[in-house]
Amino acid sequence: MTRHDKRKLTDRVMMGLCAAAAVIGLGWLTLILGALLYEGLAGLSPAVFTEMAPPPGEDGGLLNAIYGSLVMTVIAVALGTPIGVLAGTYMAEYGRHSRLTVVVRFINDILLSAPSIIVGLFVYELMVTRMGHFSAIAGAVALAILVVPVVVRTTEDMLNLVPNALREAGTAVGAPRWLVIRSVIYRAAQAGMVTGVLLAVARISGETAPLLFTALNNQFWSTDLNAPMASLPVTIFQFALSPYEDWQRLAWAGAIVITFTVLGLSILARSLTGPRRER
């Protein structure tokens, strides 16, 4: 075999392996989604959305868990979004070249991929031990801490994309900086910022670990923010690990609900701004 043939062969083999890697990656996605559809659709029925979590051996749904997840997600987004937007605004507008921005960006990127169970421990120490009991509000705070870094990151990125000419035009007609930011910059970056919030919702709606010892779980209907509250992920966790078959079936149904919520949100977020880099 000549040197040329050898090089060609190596190229073929390595590129073939790379293509195989892509096939394997897509294969996993198909396998997981396939299993989820197969198992989940079997358990999915209108009752899942209209009835309470049942005791083992009885029929029921996941209504209280879905409600709990919605409530905590809404509160978390309401708490986390303003903080994230304002922090991102500082980094992109007032302090674009300041040292603080560099440090905050670095720390924020770490928070972005920090283990969520540690956030759960933090909120447990911060709120649960002080209040003496688990509560929905503690769960919402834990989720809010996960919302902040996502929103900070996208806000900063999106504001940085706004052309400087817009800022200069605003200032030239005499508008003060806050007014330029609020009425010009935010409006120009609106789609991107909404994407950030959607990505944050997608991120927290599947989070289980930070809720385990903050909101805990609740077998019953509860709207009290000061009491433990059920959530979809924690209920799935509990039901899936239980020995009861009807609970396991409900866990699969819940899993399919969460997955398609999250996938739907990420696809929606993507379609708002086109392809974006996620790190």
Partner: protein, 326 residues
Amino acid sequence: MATHDAVQELAVARGRSVTRFALTDALFHGATRACAILVLVILGGVAISLLAGSWTAISQFGFSFLITESWNPVTERFGALAPIYGTLMTAALAMVIAVPLGLGIAVFLTERCPIVLRRPIGTAVELLAGIPSIIYGIWGLFVFAPFLQQTVQPAIIATFKSVPWLSSLFAGPPYGIGVLTAALILSIMVLPFITSITRDVFDTVPPVLKESAYGLGCTTWEVVRRVVLPYTRTGVMGGIMLGLGRALGETMAITFVIGNAHRISPSLFAPGTTISATIANEFTEAVGDVYTSSLIALGLILFIITFIVLAAARYMLMRLDARTGG
């Protein structure tokens, strides 16, 4: 006279509104700055509260906490060695599997993939990153682990039975759940992170560099090996470290499939535990200060490990950004 008054009034009003504008601007500036600082406070708060919460365990066990294997709630004797071992072992195995796969997919997407398929495949792989970890867990427990238990593990055990070193690494019985299963699931979970970052990083290679290499007669593989990889080394390392950070902290998927056994077994098929799985499984049931505090101490260890890994990852990616001006 009347016009003079009006002009003066206007000037005063303008002066007032300028002051008001300046005040609002100062307020808004202050608010944004405070929120930026709050991000730092959150991370600081996490560190301090973990340290405070684990103080009982640290003062009772000291350094021996790190090197003790025993985890006994009855005698209140706790050591973190088994969870630390499980965390590092599963993460390392996951990286061994996910890094070549992720790099391969990135190479395929940037060099060989037909343009029409590039977007859909890239998106599909990134969607894997969006699937919540509990879904991987439930899939791992009900679909993947039984499959491993019934087909793959018995075959491996039978194959390596008489090979001296490998036989203890793959010693039975085939539970299905265990360290290897957890590592395999982890590798699926970190794959999209590694893929999407390395693909972005590969895209920063100036086309002219690759074209010169092709012009000299290089094959695609030689271009990847001799031009793309050396050029993007820091960024690729950053992406790998970021994936490693994810793998170390991953909780729910692992909790489902690792078996939660506090011992270090030479066999990869044996159940084990990780730091995050231990906390998730035992925290709400922990009775007594020492038990709770030991679990928080585990959290502190995980926090320190992931902080170092993630900081290194960000540092490498920042250096790459500075070089490419991106």
